[in-house]
Structures are given as structure tokens and as C-alpha cells.
């Protein structure tokens, strides 16, 4: 008799055999075995871990380094100037409000231009020294021609007075003709005296 005679599909036969074997060989796992195995294997690890945690706790306590007083402030002061994007400190003059006024800026610019122009246009004047050269005569360019003539005339009068050592008479009070006559008279007198 063969399989075909029994008309049993081979797959069904194998599955039935598998079930029978499983029933025969089944071993029930004791209740809680997995937990016990887990605990048994973990316990040493737990002990070790607890020991290490104790060491870790001591490390944290005993290796802690007190920070010197004010260190953070010193570090900040040393580093803050290099902070990227940090706004540059505003110049003191820029903090004055009126400088920001457009009108004041224009006024300041005008004054500056005027000052520069005045400096540039200022005529050269001789330097004033404490000990001017004795032969130099200060000439004031601001005097008019008439004033200069008057000044020179006064100086000539002064010279004439000193030379003649006589009663002062302003030079311009003499008539030129009178001077010529006086001169001729003097020549005549000198000739007579010498003769």
C-alpha cells in the first residue's frame, strides 16, 4: 500500500508528525526562570555599577576645583573686545546730540572754511622778536601815503631840531626861497670872516 492508496497528502502527514514530536518533547519553562536568569547575570553588573557610581561620586567631590574669585570677570574682560559684530564704542563727540543736527554740521563746516580761508589769505608779517635788529625800521603797510608823509615829516623835524640845537621851528614852516637866501647870507658871512 502506498501513499496514493491511503490518499494522504504528504504535507499533512509531516505536519502531524511535527505536532506529535512537539508534544512529546515539550518542556515547560519554570515560572520566573527568565527573571531569575536576568537577575543572576545582572547582579554582578549591578554591584560593579554601584561600586563605580560610588567612585564616580567621590571623583566629583574630591576632584572639584574651586574657581578663583573674579576669574569669570577677568576672562570676560579679556575676551569681550573680540566679540564678533560688537558695536564699536561711539566717539565721545558723537554722543553729543547737537552734532547730529544737520544745521549744526553745516554751520560748523562754514566756520571751518572761513577759518581756513582767513589763515590762507592772511599776509605774511615779519616775526616779532624780543630783540629786533636795531637798524630795521618797522613799516606799517596799513598806513596811507599821507600818513607816511606826515610821519616822515615829523621825524625830519625832530632831526632838524636836534641838529640845530636851536629853537624848534617846524621845517615845513620855512620858505624854500628863504632857505636859499639864508644859505647865500651864510656864504657871504663866511667869506667875509675868512677874508
Amino acid at each position: 500500500m502506498n501513499r496514493k492508496d491511503l490518499n494522504i497528502p504528504i504535507d499533512d502527514e509531516l505536519k502531524a508528525l511535527e505536532r506529535a514530536l512537539a508534544d512529546e518533547l515539550r518542556v515547560d519553562t519554570p515560572a520566573g526562570l527568565a527573571d531569575r536568569v536576568f537577575d543572576a547575570t545582572l547582579a554582578p553588573m549591578r554591584d560593579e555599577l554601584a561600586g563605580l557610581q560610588e567612585v564616580e561620586g567621590k571623583l566629583r567631590d574630591e576632584l572639584a576645583v574651586p574657581t578663583p574669585r573674579g576669574l569669570a570677570e577677568r576672562v570676560y574682560a579679556a575676551s569681550v573686545e573680540r566679540l564678533p559684530g560688537r558695536a564699536e564704542p561711539e566717539p565721545v563727540i558723537a554722543r553729543i546730540g547737537w552734532v547730529h543736527s544737520k544745521a549744526w554740521r553745516v554751520a560748523a563746516a562754514v566756520v571751518l572754511v572761513l577759518v581756513l580761508a582767513a589763515i590762507w589769505l592772511k599776509p605774511n608779517t615779519p616775526a616779532v622778536t624780543d630783540d629786533p635788529a636795531p637798524d630795521t625800521v618797522a613799516v606799517d603797510d596799513s598806513l596811507t601815503e599821507a600818513q607816511i608823509e606826515a610821519q616822515l615829516s615829523a621825524e625830519l623835524d625832530e632831526i632838524a631840531m636836534l641838529v640845530s640845537n636851536a629853537t624848534y621851528q617846524p621845517l615845513d614852516s620855512y620858505n624854500l626861497d628863504e632857505l636859499v637866501e639864508l644859505d647865500a647870507l651864510l656864504d657871504q658871512m663866511m667869506g667875509e670872516t675868512n677874508g
Binding site: 560593579e48 563605580l52 574630591e62 572639584a64 578663583p68 575676551s79 569681550v80 573680540r82
Partner: protein
Amino acid sequence: MEHSLDETLAAAGAGDESAWRRLVEAYTGRVYGVIYRQCGDAELSEEITQTAFVKVVAKLGDYNETGRFEAWLFRIATNCLRDEMRRRKRQANTVDFAATPPESIGYTGDEAHEPDAPLLAAERNSRLAQAVAELPEADQQLLNMRYVGELSYQQIAEALEQPLGTVLARGHRALKKLKAKLAEEAA
């Protein structure tokens, strides 16, 4: 910090002085602590801390926060210290800072001016501090970053530019060594 780190960094990067002050106040102590633990010199630690923050602020405008600011800050600080140590070695070549325990270098005996000198002196003598000092320099650096700088292992890995797994394994080994040392002394 009331403001979020993202906001504070963005504000500082735009020139906000108060935001930068908040950052400085939040991180100065931690950076100083890590540097001090590595070199043992209070004056140098302050100098390095200032240098690190000056470098950070100069680059802050181009910095985009992606959760890595702390790692970046501490990397700059530790690099500053490393560069300074190299420079001093070249100049003096007298003290091997890298191989010398922190408590044996740096102090010149004039710590009285430091307000916290007694506390520092006391903790330097602690068993745990001594045990840490006996660890390799790399382990010390990692532990300092973790427990003084309060960085996560992920941040430490980024700061040291090492794989996270390596940092985790080294940290775990270092803790086990310390635990064993303390157990031996207690027994």
C-alpha cells in the same frame, strides 16, 4: 542658564555682550577646573582659560551650534594647554609635565594668595586624588573632563577626537582601577 544654549550662542555670535558674559560665567569654572587638574598650576590654568575663551570668541561669528559647543570649547582649552606645555618644554626642558603627577608640579609654595589654597592642599592629599594621579595621563584627562568638566562621554569623545567606544571603554577601565585601588587601601 535661563536662555537656551542655542539662543545664547547665536546672540553672542551677533555681538551681544550680555550673552557672551553668560557663556563665560557658565563655563569658566569648568574649563579652569579641567586645565588645573591637568597642569596643577593655578596661574597657568587661569592664563589658559583666558586664552581659550579669547580663541572661542574670535571664532564665534562663524560657529553654528549643533550641540557640540562644550566639546569644541574644551578641545580648544586642552589644545591651548598642550601647546603651552610644548612651548615650555622647548624653552626650559626641565619638568616633564606630561609624565609628572599634577600635585608635584606647578606649585611654588606661594599659594597663600589663593583664597582656596587650604582646600586645594587638602584635596591634593586625598587618596582618590593620588590614585587618579597614578593613572596614565590620557585616563586622567578623560576623568577630569568627565567629573571636573562635567562633559558627557559623547562630548569627551568629540573633544578628544576619539571614537565614543574607545572613550567609554577607557573610562570604564579607569573607574575600575580606581575602585580597586580604594578597595586595597581600605582593606
